[in-house]
């Protein structure tokens, strides 16, 4: 960890990283279970499928999923990006690229559902690609949080008396 002022925030940050992984895994499970995991499944999901006895999605149905994601996804990305950006001097270009991938894939993922339904079934590939991009981004932010907040060799617990580890804050002070 390069910024010692952040050491006390280690466990909240690592817990947040764990939940980013849970979000990515649960999103992947839902993508496979509900949309089939590929372009053909995405088309069937939005346009309806006689084999599955499903109708095309209504505007209300698509909005029901899109609206909470429009609020939740940017909020989660903002929190992760904010912490990683603050915690470490990083390669600016790589950091900016990951930020761009995160928000672009999130927006494309939400909008492409509308696109498949009302513009072109070919946009199903965009849905698949943007979903994959967001998954990569979420897992990358989680990995960066872990890399930044897992104890480094220079921040070892100080041992007191009978060998009890000192609170992390004491190491910082």
């Amino acid at each position: 960890m390069t910024n010692r002022r952040l050491v006390p925030f280690r466990w909240p940050a690592l817990g947040f990283a764990a939940y980013l992984v849970v979000q990515a895994v649960s999103a992947a499970a839902l993508f496979v279970l509900k949309l089939g995991g590929g372009a053909a499944g995405v088309r069937a999901f939005y346009l309806g499928s006689p084999e599955r006895f499903t109708h095309a999605k209504s505007l209300a149905g698509i909005l029901e999923v899109a609206v909470p994601h429009l609020a939740a996804v940017p909020l989660v990305l903002f929190a992760a990006i904010h912490v990683v950006g603050f915690a470490r001097p990083h390669r600016r270009r790589a950091f900016s690229a990951l930020v761009a991938l995160s928000f672009a894939s999130a927006l494309a993922g939400i909008l492409s559902g509308f696109g498949v339904r009302w513009l072109s079934p070919g946009l199903a590939w965009l849905k698949v690609a943007s979903f994959a991009g967001l998954e990569v981004a979420l897992l990358s932010w989680a990995a960066l949080l872990v890399a930044l907040f897992v104890p480094g060799p220079h921040v070892r617990p100080v041992h007191h008396g009978a060998g009890a580890a000192a609170p992390v804050q004491e190491v910082v002070r």
Partner: protein, 158 residues
Amino acid sequence: MRFLVLPRAAARARPPVRVFLAFAALALVALAAQRIVAGGLSPAEVEAHYLGAGGGDALPAAALWEEVHAGAFVYGFVLFMLGSLAVLCPVSARVRNALLAVAFGATLADLFAPFAIVGLGRGGSLRVATFAVATLSVAALLAVVALSFGRGGGHEHP
């Protein structure tokens, strides 16, 4: 993050933090009420919900994952905020970390407990227990932060 790590900025963060805590408390109460009204304190009702009442079908895997997906956002974000704010509170790091570990562990267990119920065909009491521990641990963390920030603020961070 800047508010939290810069001592002089912490005072300015106090009013919005209080509002956030009020909303977090309301969300926690509403979530608990929603679960209790739906029979979340009764193992039999929990099992009936996930396994199907009267020989009905169990909830499909997609429904279980949807619950995990929504819960991971709420719990993950709120615990990250509360855990970060707790750093500024006058409690020992050991107590703070223990409280945070219990809250993270219990909420994760609460999110995944339905898979155990569906897999085992029983275990409603497990979900009741994870619900109770998750709610109480998040409430305790929230109380620690609220007691500090509500009284005029946490101590200055080193």
